[in-house]
């Protein structure tokens, strides 16, 4: 008879970063300042520290302490200038200058609500950029023009909608002749809404989950997005010409709870961070499950992709695992 086939070996992370000493809640890849050369990984931890890791030496280069021991929930570098935005549970959005090895807070914005919602950024003509963040009212989203910090608008759902708090945000811009900033927001009631920022109104809304939306990502080229929630289902929705959202398919998972979803920059892979300690990889076009990355021993809070395809996952077990998957050749 045929020999018993061994299960394929457990995939291993390429390496693991240790030393945050508390749960990792935010990850972001950063190409580094000129001259430094090597790519960096930024991680934000429960203890309020931001670690800057060199992927070259696999060691922490520096630690930024700016959120008074409160959890860092979101990290994002700006496309121009070497600046980093970090959002913390101390209700501050800090802007760091990282150029030439500096690490100082150059500006900060006060957040108005304690929520789980991560902010989002849209870069305009330098040096201008726009940030969307949870606003004063529990269901509001506030949009600021940066770096002047002038409020552009506050997006408040209609009185009868009652979608609850915004849980995750995604600013993007249509790549046509008249770029208009749009905002995708996932709400507490499980719905995803598309806002037209300049007109301050909801273009479309679709309810794809029964539980709060925990994370969403949008592929503006294919006009398709994906969202994960506290329940077992991953929803893929699309945006048609009439600017209306439509759920096109759902994917059932074995365990409930998705903390974060991320589409790889080349739009080929999708990664989800699971409360079941696992990272799942899907083929983005077909939504075919490709791999389950089982390494962490606590909830995976966040995933991030680098430009070269490297995947990082941060977890409650205080580790950041780095995976090399389906590398582009």
């Amino acid at each position: 008879m045929a020999a018993p086939t061994r299960p394929p070996p457990l995939p291993d992370p390429q390496f693991v970063l240790r030393g945050t000493q508390s749960a990792v809640h935010a990850l972001h890849f950063y190409r580094g300042t000129q001259g430094q050369g090597c790519p960096l990984l930024l991680s934000g931890s429960l203890s309020g520290l931001v670690h800057i890791w060199s992927l070259h030496t696999r060691r922490a280069l520096t630690t930024l302490d700016g959120h008074g021991s409160q959890c860092v929930t979101w990290l994002q570098t700006l496309p121009h200038g070497h600046q980093l935005l970090s959002q913390g549970r101390d209700l501050r959005l800090c802007l760091w200058d990282l150029a030439e090895g500096r690490n100082a807070v150059v500006d900060s914005v006060r957040l108005e609500s304690v929520g789980f919602c991560r902010s989002t950024v849209l870069a305009g003509a330098p040096p201008r950029w726009m940030v969307a963040m949870p606003g004063r009212g529990s269901d509001e989203v506030e949009i600021l023009e940066m770096p002047s910090k002038t409020s552009v608008c506050t997006l408040k759902p209609e009185a009868d909608a009652k979608p609850g708090m915004p849980m995750c945000l995604e600013l993007w811009q249509q790549a046509d002749s008249s770029p208009r900033p749009r905002l995708l927001a996932g709400y507490e009631d499980g719905s995803v809404a598309l806002w037209d920022v300049s007109e301050r109104k909801v273009c479309s809304r679709v309810t794809c989950h029964t539980e709060p939306v925990m994370g969403l990502d949008f592929d503006s080229q294919k006009a398709r997005g994906v969202s994960g929630s506290a329940e077992k289902v991953l929803a893929v929705w699309s945006l048609d010409e009439q600017q209306s959202l439509k759920v096109c398919r759902t994917h059932e998972l074995t365990n409930p709870g998705i903390a974060d979803v991320m589409i790889r920059p080349d739009r080929k892979l999708l990664a989800t961070a699971g409360w079941d300690h696992r990272v799942r990889i899907f083929h983005w076009r077909t939504m075919k499950p490709l791999a389950v990355l089982d390494f962490h021993t606590a909830t995976v809070h966040c995933v991030a992709f680098a430009d070269d395809g490297l995947l990082a996952a941060g977890s409650g077990d205080r580790r950041i695992s780095i995976w090399s998957l389906y590398q582009r050749t």
Partner: protein
Amino acid sequence: MGVFDTPQEAFGILRPVCVQLTKSQTVENVEHLQAQLRAVSDSALQELQQYVLFPLRFTLKTPGPKRERLIQSVVECLTFVLSSTCVKEQELLQELFSELSACLYSPNSKKPAAVSEELKLAVIRGLSALMHSAYGDIILTFYEPSILPRLGFAISLLLDLAEQEKSKQVKIAALQCLQVLLLQCDCQDHPRSLDEHEQKQLGDLFASFLPGISTALTRVITGDFKQGHSIVVSSLRLFYKTVGFIMADEQLRKVSKVQAKPAVERRVAELMIHRTADWVKNTGDKLTILIKKIIECVSVHPHWKVRLELVELVEALLLKCNQSLVESAGPLLKALVGLVNDESPEVQAQCDKVLRHFADQKVVVGNRAFADILSENLHSLATSLPRLMNSQDDQGKFSTLSLLLGYLKLLGPKVNFILNSVAHLQRLSKALIQVLELDVAGIKVVEERCWNSDDLSASPKASAARPWNQIQRRYFRFFTDERIFLLLRQICQLLGFYGNLYLLVDHFMELYRESVVYRKQASMIVNELVAGAAGLEVEDLHKKHIQTSPEELREIVTSVLEEYTSQENWYLVTCIEAEEMGEELTMKQSSLQAITSNAHTCQVTSSPALSKPSPTVCSMNSNIWQICIQLEGIGHFAYALGNDFRLLLMSALYPVLEKAGDQTLLISQAATSTMMDMCHACGYDSLQHLINQNSDYLVNGISLNLRHLAQHPHTPKVLEVMLRNSDASLLPLVADVVQDVLATLDQFYDKRATSFVSVLHALLAALAQWFPDRRQLQEQSLGKEGSHLSQRPATLQKGLENTTTAKDIEQFLLNYLKEKDVADGNVLDFDSEEEEPSVPPEVGKSDTRPDVEPPLPLQIQIAKDVMERCIHLLSDKNLKIRLKVLDVLDLCVVVLQSHKNQLLPLAHRAWPSLVHRLTNDDPLAVLRAFKVLRTLGGKCGDFLRSRFCKAVLPKLAGSLVTQAPISARAGPVYSHTLAFKLQLAVLQGLGPLCESLDLGEGDLNKVADACLIYLSAKQPVKLQEAARSVFLHLMKVDPDSTWLLLNELYCPEQFTPPHPSLCPVQLRGATGQQNPYTANVLHLLKELQ
């Protein structure tokens, strides 16, 4: 010294003598003349030169037979005159020359005359002196075409002498005289430097003699070795000076196409030679034959001075005649190159100097013809190399390889011409691989084991004195000479230095992958290539050579390193680990098999096949060497990259450390020295430093490998080593790995408990060391002053002494009553104030989260988790594991002592199985369990006391009592029984335990009662000793009652009351009466006092 300075005076004394000589030509007269001459100053003699010479020449010229003795003395006298004066007239010079040379030959034959050696010597010296005395330009006028016949005649005479004469002295004199005649004399200012034109003229003249001189000299040079080295040296010198002069490129370049008509008679003109291109070509060809002969003979000459002269010859000829003698360049270079590694350091040094000189002058690289010749030579050497390596003996191999090395040195960067030819690279590599084959037949390599593998600190400090390239002794199949290995390494290093490293490494790694047969050699070669490429130890003859850039080198090293440490090349079967490796072994073997299946059927390749699961000694041997070589390579790489290697530590350190703990001595030695290399290269002070600084990389490897424990059974070992060599800063990094370990342990309870338990042991030992309890530290420092336990026997002792006063007794009694009072519970209020005030609720930052307890320190959490596992493992089937677990448990208690809230519940849970260990287990386990109990007793005595007394003590005491009669009766064999060991263990353990638990009186009595029986002399000695130790401990706890108890057994003396008011005491132990307990009791009482 001249006594007679003026010619007048000199003439005065010389005249009678000269007249006398002219009249009567006798030896005496000649000698008389010479004696007088000594008293004449040089300047005076110069004036009188002709006058003095006359009688002498007259004597020579008088016809008729002369006595040799006379001629000799005349010639000697003549020589004396000539050496102090100079000849200023050309005719005189010519005449004297003819007259002197005539002395040497017999007119009837053309051979030298059969005269005495002394005469020959005298004549030769005379000729030398004559040529030296020629004044100024006279000498040039002497060398005119017309002199050719006479000169030729003299030269051929001298050559004959050099060749055929018996006397060494004569031969050498003849050779030196030839040198003088050909104006190639060694002395400083003779001849005065000639201008180009003069040189050319002389060259034309001497060219006629070249064939004769060169052939004759070749015969001398290639003659018997026994003729003495100085003759060969002189001949060689004469040869290259003459050839170098006549064939000098500089002269030949100026030779005109048409021969100038010399104004001489025809007979002489026929002798003249015009050095046309054709002539040069022909002569060159002929000379090449001679040079080849000479080189062949001389390069193996046993005397080093001869070989040294050969180097000079090569230098002179290659520098002066590299165009005229282009055909000889090959053999000449070969000779030079072959001597680079001569056994004589002088020759080596000279060779080196010459090579350097050549390189500086770009003689080889700058000269296409030479480079071509060299490459051609190298080509042909590469072609024949495999055959030569096969057939030659050690000496032959040595010279062949020296030659190869020399070519590489000379060619420098141009070596790539050869390497780029696939066929030649293959030949070369085949030869190297073949000759480097190791002898792996010995069994010793597999047998040697190292037992204390985990103690890195025992290994020698990373001292700077150790050279980087010192490597383990190897045994090769095809040679035994160490020098050959050295040569091979140098060759590889040079190849790496000059060659295209990508190409070479690629080629050899291909071979590495191709077959097990090649693998060891290929990796050896690659190691040296890399070391060479980094320029370690390579002396560069070619200054402007561009080395492999550091980036390229790093890239290459990274890829080789990856290959070396890959699963199938790093985890080779080196020993039969029956119990540790199960199915995964066979799985690994199958993958190996796949690689080796295309190998030749060599004994080495007999790799583990699936059909026969135990690998042969040979293949294990081979694997061991393979790993050692790879380890050594990693060390080389570290040196090659220097500080750049730090980045590679993340992938290299883990595998090397793993091998440092290998059971096979050879491997662990190699790995340790590799780590040492890494230390040096990356600038760490010691191995500990290296491990400590890079523990994050290690942790990464460990945690990933723990996930695949079946493939990496040694991972726990690495963790262990790392823990031993790190400090507290490691803990945050390692915390999650510890959790992984525990999780894996839970998963593989049955299979891998042994290795994990030792990791836990290392971990807890580290924790205990990193986080010492502060209170304990304080206690320790206080304890040195003496605790109350040690004070009490002192007071007691005092009390027992006869000098006590009534006051002392009174005080003693009062104290006693007070203590009794306290013991009965009548506590006065004085110690109520010691009670701690109730802890006020904490106010501060922490009340932001009042409901959450502050998290436990990491080490406490870990110790807690570990202790939990220990509770389960305490009842493991394997004794070894139980023992180790007891040790771990002990450490857990130590670490947890400051956190009673955590410790006590765990201790409570561990208690039942600990009791089991104490009461029914192997004696060894009993002993360890006692140790744990003691520690536990020390940390939480109150918690334990009653439990111990209730659950353990009765059983132990009971078993001791019931066993006592048996052991008392038993014979000597009893000490080998389990019962005995158990008794011993209990007795040994009880004492310390009683002390640390601070047992009450009743329990102490129980212990004492049970142990008393063992003080009997009937018991085995060891048990008596153990029992004594129990009592010694009891004395510390309660000296008084112990004293009483012992005295009741046997009382050594009558007690006289210290004060008459007290009545005498009578104890039960009868005084003076011997009983079985006497000896031990006396012994103990002595201790008590």
